[in-house]
């Protein structure tokens, strides 16, 4: 007797359904379990795709340092650049003792290629001083910086800044309007300077190194009046301080207004950013005590000036405040002004 059904036939729906399920699984698996899918999954787990477990260290929970109160403090910075500081604070302490007041801004120099000296910044901070780094692009072409060839270095630097999470003033390629440095007017154009400056700033922003106070630091225009400053200015969104540099030299202008006035007039035509005198000192000589007094008074008088950095070196000439007893005395008297110096940790 022939029958309408057989086990083989009875099995077909089961097999067909199983086959359909498998086919469906494979089809949808194509996307869910593709490389992209796996990467997406790992990222969703908070991992770098393909990374090993130890590479997934979480970010420091500490919020980034808010530098805003340091940008335009009510009082004036009393800054110093001193020999060996801030690696060894002896010179700074000596300066403080002679000046009768602790400086709260410590400037030092860093060449292109140097790593971000976190220990120095920490040292200065522990002493009560904000670090001011003049970042000098020796041995590198500004064009290469702007084109991104130096990005690895800049990123590493920026990440260190972010990781340390202490405020720092950074002045890239200072005195760019002078001819004496390799990044000066003889070797580079204004456009190349601004492009490099902006690029560094952008990379820092990209890395989230927001602890930087950006200082645009031209020399006073007096030695090279033909070089206009405006083309060198990167823009208000790239600059926090205008860090003007001008020394009282025996053969140069003898008053605050004569020394800084022409530059201020030019700069104020394109920005309202606060000024800081990024480097200054008075050449040893008879005029020095008067110059010191002029510097303090001139700086304190203008609301848009937030202080100065004294270049306390005996280099080329003796710029130190203790080059003569009268200078030291005058400096001490002037620094006693309550408007100078404040606690940078609690501005």
């Amino acid at each position: 007797m022939t029958l309408p059904s057989s086990p083989a036939r009875a099995m077909w729906p089961v097999r067909a359904v199983a086959a359909a399920l498998l086919a469906g699984a494979l089809l949808s698996g194509c996307t869910t379990f593709s490389d992209d899918g796996r990467n997406a999954y790992e990222r969703a787990q908070g991992e770098e795709p393909g990374a090993t477990a130890d590479a997934t260290e979480s970010e420091k929970p500490e919020p980034p340092y808010d530098v805003r109160p340091l940008l335009q403090p009510d009082k004036e910075y009393l800054g110093v650049a001193a020999d060996g500081a801030p690696k060894k604070m002896d010179a700074v302490k000596d300066f403080a003792e002679r000046a009768g007041k602790k400086p709260n801004l410590i400037e030092f120099y860093s060449a292109w290629g140097d790593r971000y000296e976190t220990s120095l910044v920490q040292n200065a901070w522990d002493y009560g001083g904000l670090s001011f780094i003049a970042w000098e692009p020796f041995d590198v072409d500004l064009k290469d910086i702007a084109s991104g060839k130096e990005d690895d270095y800049i990123r590493t630097y920026a990440r260190s800044v972010k990781e340390l999470n202490l405020p720092v003033a950074l002045s890239f390629a200072h005195e760019m309007n002078g001819f004496w440095y390799p990044w000066g007017t003889k070797k580079a154009t204004a456009a190349q300077f601004t492009a490099a400056y902006k690029h560094i700033h952008d990379v820092f922003d990209d890395e989230g190194a927001t602890q930087v106070i950006w200082v645009w630091s031209p020399n006073v225009v007096n030695p090279m009046p033909k070089v206009k400053l405006k083309p060198y200015y990167p823009g208000d969104d790239y600059v926090d301080w205008v860090g003007i540099i001008g020394y009282y030299a025996t053969d140069g202008p003898s008053t605050w207004d004569a020394l800084y006035g022409p530059s201020i007039t030019q700069i104020r035509s394109f920005t309202k950013k606060p000024f800081i005198i990024a480097e200054t000192a008075a050449q040893a000589g008879e005029r020095k005590p008067a110059d010191i007094k002029d510097l303090f008074q001139g700086t304190a008088k203008r609301k848009d000036f937030i202080g100065f950095v004294w270049f306390n070196f005996d280099k080329e000439t003796d710029w130190r405040i203790n080059s003569g007893p009268l200078s030291e005395k005058t400096f001490r008297e002037q620094a006693a002004d309550a408007r100078f110096g404040f606690d940078v940790t609690k501005p």
Partner: protein, 623 residues
Amino acid sequence: MTDQQHTYQGYGQNQEPYPQQPQPRDPWQYQEEHQFYAGEAHQGQVVPGEVVRREVTESGSWMFDGQISAYTDQQTYETYAPYDPYATYTAPTATVTAPAPAPQPAPAPVVPETPGYVLPPVPESAWEMDTKRSRLLGRLALLCILLIQTGLSLRLRGTAFQDEALYIASGHYELANLLHGDKLPVDFAAYFSGHPKLYPVVAAVVDSQFGLTGVRLLSLVFMLGATGLLYSLTRRLFNPRAGLGAAALFSVLQSTIVLGNFATYDAAAVFLLALAAWAVVRTDRMNVLAVLLAAPPAALAFGVKYASGMYLPTLVVLAVITAHRHRGIRAVGRGVVLGAGIVALLGIGYVLSGPLGGISSTTTDRAKGTDTAATMLSHSAEWGGLVFLAALGGSIAYALRARMGEMPWLGAETSGRWRRVALGLVLTGTALLAPAYQIHLHTEISLYKHVGFGLLFAAPMAGLGMARLVGPHFRHPQLGILLYVLTLVFGMVQAQRAYSFPDSTQMTDYLRTVVDKKGTYLAEEQEVPAYYLRDKTDWNQWQNTYFMDYRGKDGKQYTGPDAFRQAVRDGKFDAIVMHGSVSPATYAAVKEGLKNNSHYRLAAVFPFTTSSGESAYRIWVKR
């Protein structure tokens, strides 16, 4: 079996009375095989004089693997054929040698009459009837399923997603409005996809006690409840095994896993829909009016999330199909009663709640997107394809045969074929509603959640499909395991990808140091900081990155990205928080506005990774 059972009449297609005689036989029926192995259960069917027959004559042939093998009955041995539920029996060829069996009394003609009482269909669960023990086992298995679901949901972690932040925060404002009559910062009802005075208020109450985790746990409870109800209703529709299959498959879906740890309306709506469906099925043998018990949860589901409305027709049709006591127009009446009940409740709700602009802007008349049908189809297939296929298989298998025939002696009553086909069509077809509707709208927003709504209805058929795949007497357990494990792996991986949004911890911590009661803040996904910082800021201090009208300081009126650009140029905002992955156009405009802008300074960058890549919160503050 009792005589009573022999004579009662089912109302399905299979209306023949239980056959009294072993012959003539339908090869699909298994009457004969009982004579070989059934124990006591078959005693009542065996014709008198069995012993005599065996001694003398009977020999039958069984067909296994396409071959007919003859077993010659011998009087002293029982014949044990390897059991095969698909085996078919041929009537013994009449090679009677000895006295013919005593002539049997002709069966009394069955008088079709309306039964005084209709027995419920006996659930087909295993070799035995649905006993206490099998019920206990079923519940234990369900417990395991729920535990796995809990684990899968709770392994997902993250700070509040935009929608969660929005609903909970709005709930706090709505609650203050209800309790103290405080003015609402905005008319949430105008753009919410559910009623702002339902779920958000509950969420806010839980949030003030237990925080976001508490609200998410509430969602987990809802989803676990939905799985439990799904088990219960499928068990009643079919059998416990299908119930377990449905619960197992539904519990590991991507949408179920995500919604179980997601503080939005969805979990509550899924639960209410499940409750309504359960009530529809549970009242199947009760008075028609009992189906009204399903109306409140159904109406509430719509109120909680308007998109649930798409599934209310399914409930109504389900009420018709499951109307066990009624046929024809009376079954339709059950649906009408339920439909009328829901409509009445919704009407009352509408009168009480006033205008709800949100219904049209979020659900019925949502802005059309640009997502293509192909993408959405392939995504829907990824998210629910397996379960849908299983449901399809279940529907087909159910349409072909009401039962697997494990207990042929129970072959009494099943639903008729049309009813079975309709049930499969309605339940399985419901899974297609959400993808179809969103393809119509060209928008994939929330589709990954919405597929889960439809699959809730398809799950009973999928559970049945799984039970059929496993086969009678657990013949192919590996296939069922395969299906479950595949669904689980897909669900787990996809849930991890879907449940991935920016970690806002650092961002809100930082903003906390920046914000005050007066400022204006532009933030991408502004609901998140507005929720976390609601103690320090007011809702309206946060400007979203979607729409803005702005009169610039130059006196011109701006809209769209131009408005954001100009407002940033003018320094309108005290802080700006962007990451660009939600509103790229606004992000670009804001960046342009920040160019050469001395108002702002980048204050913080907090990188985060989501499944779509790496990004970072960038916070600009006024200098």
